[in-house]
């Protein structure tokens, strides 16, 4: 055995921990490139397309604003403020969720905390980890925004400054998130799921109320509405909010006032460093208390068992034969017991609800023009499709792969393996239809849409649900990752990428057909019945969606039947 070396008790081990993480990352990158160069290229290309798309969108927006210098002077700082305040909230929650999982929920924590790693080093490592994992969205969204903005800048120094502002800003939500994660474990360990759900609910309710108040249309008095809107938005320009330091600093940099910009950069960086130091100090000082509370303070998770028929969840799937009903009911119950899943869907639909609730009545805004009144339902369809695609790619696609470790259970059911896919499909359709059809009916009522077009839009909505659920379940069965227990990794894997591309392609076809039908009907007046060709195009859109979904299911079922359990 090793000669007894005096353990350097309390020596800093942060460097070693970072080096180990970097080595782990290096191995991961090598492995990814070796195993799937095509996938890396496809992902990079897709990322580039997203970046370019965002850049063009922001570039056109700013160009439009520049045409009216007076409005640009007022609007651009507001855009920045709004962007960074949203980022502040999103990143704080994102950091809190990631930090909670990595501080209190992983085997790595138990391993490192039973070794002589000082708590401060452990907490610092986890702080940086959550910072990196949570902040990629800011980089994805922010860099195209800033590049588009840089086109308006008078000096190339702006490029360096905007990067510095980003780096200075990111630690602020990171520190707040770390502190929130620690506080959740320390003070609410028994109610962590309920607390998280309540926090999400409160934020959504606040956004809904505030958004409704801020965005409410004031009839034709657009100037009054704009004044009211700016007045309400001034709350996010409070001097003590970090988003204001960044937004003001970037605005100064944009206009060539570099000394002012550097002052705000200094304020942001100093506060970020102080908050980071404070959060790491507080969390590491009382980390053992929070860890103990997180490990022992949770509820037992005891729940009454559902009856053999599947209970209330089983009733929803009463049309399925018993073994499949149980599988679908199990998936629904798992979904409802996982706040990470339903809260994301809730947030997406709440945002959609906010949008729907603010739609002006077309009869008053657009007069008697029936054709134009179809454009907004068409845009609703596009928005809804994106929301549904997000859900099916993120949560429905991994369903089959997640059965990997338990395939022996469902493999022994008195049903063909491919029939199990029907249960997964039924579950996915139930969840998506519940939200999508509901949202479309609300939209149709608010827009006072004709009955014919209401029926058409509902049929297309259902066909989009079939397309997306069919793709997610079918491709999930064709390219499963049975050895991967993590939902995120399954969704981001090779099969997940194929599913994302296939879903987008299929939905795009449906939407192009519907776009054409909408275009053909632009001269219709309210109450007019569309011509036969338009109706045929709509039917073709429905057929494309349903046909695509069924085709994907068939491919998945054919492969799934051959899988050895």
């Amino acid at each position: 055995m090793a000669k007894r070396v005096a353990p350097h008790v309390g020596r800093p081990l942060l460097g070693l921990l970072f080096r180990t993480k970097m080595r782990s990352l290096r191995n991961r990158i090598h492995q990814t490139i070796d195993q799937g160069p095509l996938r890396v290229m496809a992902t990079s290309a897709l990322m580039l397309v997203v970046w370019l798309g965002l850049y063009l969108l922001f570039h056109l927006t700013f160009q439009q604003l520049r045409r009216t210098p007076l409005q640009a002077t007022v609007a651009i700082p507001l855009v920045f403020n709004f962007f960074f305040v949203v980022m502040l909230m999103l990143l704080t929650f994102s950091n809190a969720i990631i930090a909670y999982g990595s501080l209190f929920g992983k085997d790595e924590s138990a391993y490192l905390l039973s070794s002589p790693v000082p708590p401060k080093d452990f907490v610092t490592l986890k702080y940086f980890e959550s910072l990196l994992l949570a902040s990629w969205s800011l980089i994805l969204l922010g860099i195209p925004l800033m590049l588009a903005m840089a086109d308006m800048a008078e000096d190339s120094v702006f490029y360096i400054l905007f990067l510095a502002f980003f780096l200075a800003f990111i630690p602020i939500p990171g520190a707040l998130g770390l502190f929130l994660a620690w506080a959740a474990a320390r003070f609410f360990p028994r109610r962590i799921a309920r607390t998280g759900a309540a926090a999400c609910g409160l934020v959504i309710a606040f956004l809904l109320l505030w958004g409704l108040q801020s965005l409410r249309f004031g009839g034709a008095e657009t100037e009054a509405w704009l004044r009211s809107f700016y007045s309400r938005m001034s709350i996010i320009e409070a001097a003590l909010l970090p988003n204001n330091w960044v937004a003001t600093g970037i605005d100064h940099a944009l206009n060539g006032n570099f000394s002012e910009a550097l002052l705000y950069l200094g304020v942001t960086a100093a506060n970020a460093l102080f908050l980071s130091w404070l959060a790491v100090m507080i969390v590491s000082r009382w980390f053992d208390v929070a860890l103990n509370r997180a490990a022992t303070g949770r509820g037992t998770g005891k729940r009454s068992a559902a009856p053999a028929s599947g209970g209330a969840a089983g009733l929803i799937f009463a049309y399925l034969p018993l073994p499949l009903r149980l599988v679908a009911a199990k998936d629904l119950r798992t979904f409802l017991r996982d706040p990470m899943q339903w809260s994301q869907l809730l947030i997406l639909f709440a945002l959609l609800g906010l949008y729907l609730a603010n739609m002006p009545s077309l009869r008053t805004q657009l007069g008697d023009s029936g054709g134009w009144s179809l454009v907004i339902p068409f845009l609703n369809l596009c928005t809804l499709s994106l929301i549904l695609a997000t859900f099916t790619c993120r949560f429905v696609f991994p369903l089959v792969s997640l059965e990997g470790q338990k395939l022996w259970v469902i493999g022994l059911l008195p049903a063909r393996l491919s029939e199990i896919l029907l249960a997964k499909f039924a579950f996915a359709m139930t969840v998506t239809l519940f939200g999508a059809v509901g949202a479309m009916i609300v939209a149709a009522i608010m827009l006072e849409l004709d009955l014919v077009w209401t029926v058409i839009h509902l049929m297309v909505t259902i066909s989009i649900c079939v397309a997306l659920c069919g793709c997610a379940v079918g491709i999930g069965a064709r390219v499963p990752m049975f050895h991967e227990p993590k939902i995120a990794r399954i969704a981001n894997g090779f099969g997940g990428t194929i599913n994302l591309l296939a879903s987008l392609a299929l939905v795009s076809l449906v939407l192009v057909a519907m776009g054409y039908a909408t275009l053909r009907s632009r001269d219709l007046r309210i109450g007019d019945v569309p011509d036969i060709l338009t109706l045929l195009v709509c039917l073709a859109a429905v057929a494309i969606g349903v046909g695509g979904g069924v085709f994907a299911m068939r491919i998945g079922a054919k492969h799934f039947d051959k899988i050895e359990v």
Binding site: A2, A6, P7, S114, T296
Partner: protein
């Protein structure tokens, strides 16, 4: 010598609750230096909770714990420097190779590179881990992971080795090698605190055995002392069943 001075692990009146459930109830025991202590109990008896308390992953609601004379609560880092913990689910960084993980552990405990290589050579041979040590650990079976984790735990020659179910997933040859390593470890004056359901292993290598049931220590002693307590010349399995049933009664 004073009992406490000779004690590597000391638990004094430890109580730990999960909500309303009492997992460990007023537990006191002392494990001496150079002793292999086997901690037995039915599922949910409080074995893993006790181990997590000893390693500082949990804090007792009442009582005091010392490892090598250091209070685990107030002087945790010093206590942990003398400790190695092998959990029931072996942890390895999945994107590191086994060798990279072992180098990480060596550096964590401040072992010089030359010394590390010497020790590793012996452990690689005895645990037969050389064939896969340069592969990413994500490709390992449970048994392979367990072997690497055991090597990592023994690498820094810990004064106290706390181990939860050490033999799960190991093949018979490795079980034999691990038993020999444990005996050699204690012969050098080191202490092993082992929780297990494999009673024949406890019977073969343990110096003393403690049986916990419903969070209470219901019996402690050498195998012969336990036989006397059970009033029969029986195997450890029969003694265990009898004592836990009596405790239920």
């Amino acid at each position: 010598m004073n009992v406490l001075e000779d004690s590597a692990v000391t638990l004094l009146g430890i109580t730990k609750c999960y909500g309303r459930t009492v997992a460990v109830d007023d537990l006191s025991l002392s494990v001496r230096s150079g002793e292999l202590f086997a901690f037995l109990g039915p599922n949910g008896a409080g074995k893993t909770t006790t181990i997590k308390l000893i390693t500082g992953l949990l804090r007792p609601d009442r009582g005091d714990i010392q490892v090598c004379g250091h209070h685990i609560g107030s002087n945790g880092v010093a206590a942990k420097a003398k400790l190695a913990y092998v959990p029931d689910q072996p942890f390895l960084y999945e994107k590191l190779t086994g060798r990279e993980f072992l180098y990480f552990v060596a550096e964590l405990y401040g072992i010089e590179n030359r010394r590390r290589d010497e020790v590793l050579e012996g452990l690689i041979a005895r645990l037969a881990i050389g064939d896969f040590l340069d592969h990413l650990t994500e490709s390992y079976s449970h048994g392979m992971k367990q072997k690497v984790v055991l090597a990592a735990a023994l690498l820094h020659d810990p004064t106290v080795l706390v181990i939860d179910e050490p033999m799960v997933g190991l093949d018979p040859r490795t079980i034999r090698a691990v038993k020999d390593l444990f005996v050699e470890h204690t012969q050098r004056g080191r202490t092993i605190f082992m929780s297990t359901h494999t009673l024949d292993i406890a019977e073969a290598v343990a110096d003393r055995i403690g049986i916990i049931h419903h969070g209470k220590l219901i019996a402690i002693g050498t195998l012969s002392e336990l036989r006397a307590l059970a009033r029969h010349e029986q195997s450890l399995e029969e003694i265990f069943l009898q004592l836990t049933e009596e405790s239920d009664g």
